[in-house]
């Protein structure tokens, strides 16, 4: 596939993702704003894929090695921290839902 054609597909899915992103959370109650922010925060930890692609290269110079390593460290902290914090927030909502039941 030519580079230009690939680019058109990339732009297409980008635009579709914009609409999907708006659509999928359009009816969220205020109560969930913070957990949702935290959850999306964890999801953009997907940059770890990019960091791995850089850090995993063969025959790279020192700068790339160091930068790649730091990028993996930062992205891993984003992923793990993001999901764990969100889970801790939501754990508490669950407790509350049980409460009204006898």
């Amino acid at each position: 596939m030519s580079h230009g054609l690939l680019l058109t597909f990339e732009v297409t899915i980008l635009v579709l993702a914009i609409f999907l992103g708006f659509e999928v959370i359009s009816k969220v109650p205020t109560l969930l704003h913070t957990p949702l922010m935290s959850g999306t925060n964890a999801i953009h930890g997907i940059v770890i894929v990019g960091a791995m692609l850089v850090a995993g290269l063969d025959h790279k110079d020192t700068l790339t090695s160091v930068v790649g390593l730091i990028a993996v460290v930062l992205a891993s902290a984003n992923v793990v921290g993001g999901f764990v914090v969100t889970d801790r927030m939501l754990e508490m909502f669950k407790k509350r839902e049980k409460k009204p039941e006898p």
Binding site: G39, G68, A71, V73
Partner: protein
């Protein structure tokens, strides 16, 4: 695995992320949504390990152990009150990772002139700028919320001009890169300039507005991640990054709306700057107003002999970790036949939903939590409104004083209750730095001290009655 195969397998991750966002939008499924997202992330990581071209593992493994351990420990150890700054911190490191990826990509390709195509170099410029702003801006937001630097807006002369010139310079370096300039110093200048801009951009924003800023920077990191997807021709980065970019933007707008302020007003309004004049006007209007402070025993009697008490929690309850004691006091009052409920303002605390989380932790029964509209309908029939460390969300200036910076924000009308008791550490104005005429209202008595201690003393005094 070839890139064709891995990009196909990444679809699994994309689908899990979409489901995760959908499930996160409803209380009943939110936790499962987060878990589904985590599974999708693991899939993406495993697939990337198997991708052709990923041959050097030690940096990845060492990096994951170090970063993952830091993330896990920080996220586990943090107290519930400090959650907002944790979100800021994890958001910032994500933005930093995106900026570093673009640095590495530029460094790898620039030595061979002509290898960088315009779309790749444009993406490098975008992820470098947006990622850097997100990184440094989030760190300042973290520092403000952690109270490492003061939460009040920090302003200096010609601030807008300095920011504008700096941003223009960053943009110029970015355009040069996008246009094909391949000098190495350009990318370094771009990263440094954008990071500085991120700092200067967040400094003038007041601490009370940090949730909106963090949400915006969260969307920024999503955009930066999507841009790295163009650099690396990677579908999961493009789609997931843009999903977060779009939903994060939407969420930012909704948060602004909950505070009845536009996002532009939050970002460029330098919130607290207006406060002195507004405070002056308020003080002028209530010049004869006196702050009345009460003793624990007075308040205990008021509470114990009331028919209906509404608790209005705010950040002061969160910071004192008083939620369990509040519930104990409420139980005690209920055993005496007092009707107790809680009025939850959508932006009480430092994050929307902050109070719900804390009260849920203390096992406060869900039906006792009243949303703003419901609570406001009940205040006229309420004997005592017990305000625990809340300030701006009960400030009548938002309703009455057109000169107040929070004018127009929906508030809890505690002043329509028969009596108001305000638990507060001191007469210092709240996080937003705005005077509150509620405190000099003749119906109001103040009980100064740490919220937790005051509540404990109140419970002990109620028991004595």
């Amino acid at each position: 695995m070839s890139r064709e195969v891995t990009n196909l397998l990444y679809l699994i991750t994309i689908v899990t992320f979409i489901l995760a966002l959908r499930f996160l939008s409803s209380p009943a499924t939110a936790r499962r949504g987060n878990q589904i997202g985590a599974v999708g992330m693991v899939v993406a990581i495993v697939v990337t390990f198997l991708q052709k071209g990923v041959n050097s593992y030690w940096e990845i493994i060492v990096g994951m152990i170090v970063g993952g351990a830091f993330g896990a420990i920080a996220a586990r150890k943090v107290r519930m009150t400090a959650m907002p700054q944790m979100v800021a911190l994890f958001n910032g490191v994500g933005g930093g990772a995106a900026a570093l990826i673009s640095l590495a990509e530029f460094h790898l390709h620039a030595p061979d002139p002509g290898t960088l195509q315009a779309d790749i170099s444009s993406s490098i410029m975008l992820s470098a700028i947006i990622g850097s702003i997100s990184f440094s801006g989030s760190m300042i937001a973290f520092a403000k919320l952690q109270e490492l630097i003061r939460g009040r807006p920090i302003t200096y002369p010609l601030q807008q001009l300095v920011n504008g010139v700096l941003f223009a310079a960053v943009l110029a370096a970015g355009i040069a890169i996008a246009a094909g300039a391949e000098q190495q110093w350009l990318i370094w200048a771009l990263l440094a300039g954008a990071s500085l801009f991120g700092v200067l951009f967040v400094l003038p924003i007041g601490g009370a507005d940090m949730p909106v800023v963090i949400s915006l920077l969260n969307a920024f990191t999503g955009l930066a991640a999507a841009a790295t997807g163009f650099e690396l021709e990677n579908n999961v980065l493009i789609v997931s990054g843009m999903l977060v970019g779009a939903s994060g933007t939407f969420l930012t707008i909704m948060m602004g709306r909950a505070m009845n302020r536009s996002v532009a007003n939050v970002l460029f309004g330098a919130f607290g700057q207006l406060a002195p004049s507004a405070a002056g006007a308020a003080a002028g209007g209530d010049a004869d107003g006196q702050v009345r402070s009460a003793t624990v025993d007075d308040v205990a009697v008021m509470l114990a002999y009331a028919h209906k008490v509404v608790v209005v929690p705010g950040y002061g309850m969160a910071v004192a970790q008083a939620q369990h004691d509040v519930r104990a006091l409420a139980d005690l009052l209920e055993s005496r036949g007092v009707d107790v409920s809680y009025a939850i303002h959508p932006v009480a605390g430092r994050m929307p939903g902050h109070m719900n989380v804390l009260l849920a932790e203390a096992n406060v029964p869900y039906p006792q939590l009243k949303e703003m509209e419901e609570a406001n309908a009940e205040f006229p029939r309420t004997d005592v409104a017990l305000v625990i460390g809340a300030n701006d969300v009960v400030n009548p200036d938002a309703r009455n004083n057109a000169g107040s910076p929070i004018y127009g924000m929906p508030i809890l009308n505690v002043d329509s209750a028969q009596q108001v008791v305000v638990l507060k550490r001191s007469m210092n104005p709240g996080f937003a730095g705005i005077e509150n005429p509620l405190f000099v209202n003749p119906k109001t008595v103040m009980l100064f001290g740490d919220a937790k201690e005051s509540i404990e003393k109140l419970a002990a005094a109620v028991k004595q009655l």
